[in-house]
């Protein structure tokens, strides 16, 4: 179904505007009109609404950009900024670091700070991956009591269609004794180190490049732990 055939064309048009603004393809109303072919009055109405609800904002130069409301929806306490800044240390230089949360038996990448070092698989914001293949899941679950962990995993069980076995398998990722850093290795997600961010339900994950020397990994691991706890 195209935009015109939709029952809610404004949603799709708004999404096209957001795509254009977030990618930088068009950052002014005139450029958006040229790109999307919408009438000037429709564009003005859509932009007005998007600005009003904080989905689009204007910079000091008048250019449009994606509004802060989006980041509030995924990170209401604005933790990502401080956490990624805390990762700005020489031992983590060049590394890809992600902020993840648990959703049932899956991990959701809330945001990703891309590094320069090549990875077998580069995570993207919004991507989901099996909890078993992500160190962040063990890091998050292991900071919880067994009851809290069960409640957290079960909260999305119906949405994901998880059975009791699925929930139990996920809960087995929880370590009874807490560690500073949790590690995982899987063909799907490569090697990861993760530390929980206390009191948040998030974990910071370091995505380890192939053939990275172990002493450097050990240093990065310590730096990751410090970042997760110092931010």
């Amino acid at each position: 179904m195209g935009i015109d055939g939709s029952r809610t064309p404004a949603v799709h048009r708004g999404a096209r505007i957001l795509d254009a603004v977030s990618s930088g393809a068009a950052t002014t109303p005139a450029a958006l009109i040229g790109l999307l072919g919408l009438p000037k009055s429709s564009m003005a109405d859509l932009l007005s609404t998007l600005e009003e609800v904080g989905f689009v904002a204007r910079g000091a130069d008048g250019d449009l950009h994606v509004g802060k409301r989006w980041s509030d929806l995924t990170d209401s306490n604005a933790l990502a900024h401080n956490l990624f800044r805390a990762c700005a240390t020489p031992d983590l230089d060049g590394h890809t670091i992600s902020l993840v949360q648990l959703f049932g038996n899956q991990v959701v990448f809330v945001d990703v700070h891309l590094g320069r070092l090549p990875l077998p698989l580069t995570p993207r914001p919004g991507q989901r991956a099996p909890a078993a293949s992500c160190a962040g899941a063990a890091a998050i679950l292991s900071t919880m009591t067994p009851e809290e962990a069960a409640e957290t995993v079960s909260a999305a069980a119906a949405h994901l269609g998880l059975g009791d076995d699925d929930v139990q398998r996920c809960l087995q990722l929880r370590h009874p004794r807490r560690r500073k850093v949790y590690e995982s290795q899987s063909p799907q997600m490569g090697r990861q180190l993760a530390c929980s961010v206390p009191g948040t339900g998030f974990a910071l994950t370091l995505h380890v490049p192939d053939r990275w020397p172990e002493p450097a990994i050990a240093k990065a691991s310590r730096a990751l732990h410090a970042a997760a706890h110092d931010s």
Binding site: S6, R7, T8, V11, H12, A15, L18, S22, G59, A60, H65, V66, G67, K68, R69, W70, S71, L73, T74, D75, A80, H81, R85, A88, T89, P90, D93, F103, V108, F109, V110, D111, V112, H113, L114, R124, P125, G126, Q127, R128, A156, A158, H159, L160, G161
Partner: protein, 335 residues
């Protein structure tokens, strides 16, 4: 969250909520579970990441500059304006013409966790280690006024063009004939570019001979010293090119003291040079720099780099203008 929950929360008819959720799911802004509930979709996280990158706040800006000279003070004024606009704190530090001081201060900025470092360099080389430390801490370093080895970006005047404009003005004033002296500045690319531009402008005039080359610094005193040395070695000098207006003002003082009517051209567009152009010399022309525009451009690039955005052009060179007796009344100097 179910459709019924959403309808209850929003007060919209359930059929409308269903249509909107269907569209949002189609756009991957929501995802529908097997039980009909909705959760945040992958595209929403992408937009959130883009928003976060754009609104990455800048709290602290560090600026190191060579010495308390009017040009740098004008840049500091402009930086205060930009910092106020961003709601950021500005930390300024004079390196007192020492590369070691400047390097040390950059490292201190890094240790203090500033969000952005701007450098008016004392020298092009010698700051590599400090810049590497800043990069490791993911703090962008933007060179202002002249390139710096190791910086992430540079914003400067098109200094080759500035030297060319000044050289053309001197060649015209000398009617294509004469013995000229070149007084360069501190060892930064801006000054070597200005000299290269000047030499390119006089090259087509075989009657113009460069008889002396000397170097000044960032003040009039160094210009006076250079002028005295040149005039001691060369009985006849018909014109001077100065790498900056402070040097030109120093040369002018020596020439006036000796009642010599010799034209001088410089670079900066500083108030002292403009006053002399208005008064009829000895400074007859200056190629302008625009400190507020340099600072604004550097801040734009620095903010973008800080947010993790891709910056396609990391070297920006702003065009200078030649100010001489013909247009001096319309020019407002920055100093």
């Amino acid at each position: 969250m179910t459709l019924a929950d959403l309808a209850s929360r929003t007060g919209f008819p359930k059929s409308s909520v269903m249509g909107i959720c269907h569209a949002l799911t189609h756009e991957a802004l929501l995802v529908r579970g097997v039980d009909g509930t909705y959760a945040l979709g992958s595209h929403l996280f992408e937009l959130a990441s883009a928003a976060r990158a754009h609104t990455w706040p800048i709290h602290d800006i560090g600026f190191s500059y060579p010495v308390d000279e009017s040009f740098f003070l004008a840049e500091i004024d402009a930086l205060h304006t930009e910092a106020d606009r961003l709601g950021a704190r500005l930390h300024v530090h004079t390196a007192k013409e020492s590369t070691a001081n400047q390097s040390r201060r950059i490292l201190e900025f890094v240790s203090a966790g500033v969000d952005l470092v701007l450098i008016e360099p004392v020298a092009t080389d010698g700051l590599e280690e400090a810049c590497a430390q800043a990069r490791a801490a993911r703090i962008p370093v933007v060179a202002l006024g002249s390139a710096v080895s190791g910086a992430d970006a540079v914003v400067a005047t098109d200094n080759t063009k500035a030297g060319f404009l000044a050289g053309s003005a001197l060649a015209t004033a000398l009617d294509g004939r004469g013995r000229v002296a070149v007084v360069g500045g501190i060892p930064i690319t801006a000054n070597s570019d200005r000299i290269a531009g000047f030499l390119a402008a006089v090259a087509p005039h075989p009657g113009i001979e460069v008889v002396a080359t000397s170097y000044g610094e960032l003040d009039a005193k160094s210009g006076r010293r250079a002028a005295r040395e040149i005039l001691a070695a060369h009985a006849t000098v018909d014109g001077f090119f100065a790498a900056n207006d402070q040097i030109a003002i120093g040369i002018s003082g020596v020439l006036r003291g000796r009642k010599l009517s010799v034209p001088i051209v410089g670079v900066d567009g500083a108030k002292g040079a403009i006053d002399e152009i208005r008064a009829g010399g000895p400074i007859i022309a200056t190629a302008t720099q625009d400190p507020p525009a340099l600072v604004r451009t550097a801040m734009d690039i620095g903010v973008a780099l800080h947010s993790g955005a891709h910056v396609a052009r990391r070297s920006r060179y702003l065009a200078p203008r030649l100010i001489d007796a013909h247009n001096v009344e319309r020019y407002r100097p920055w100093g």
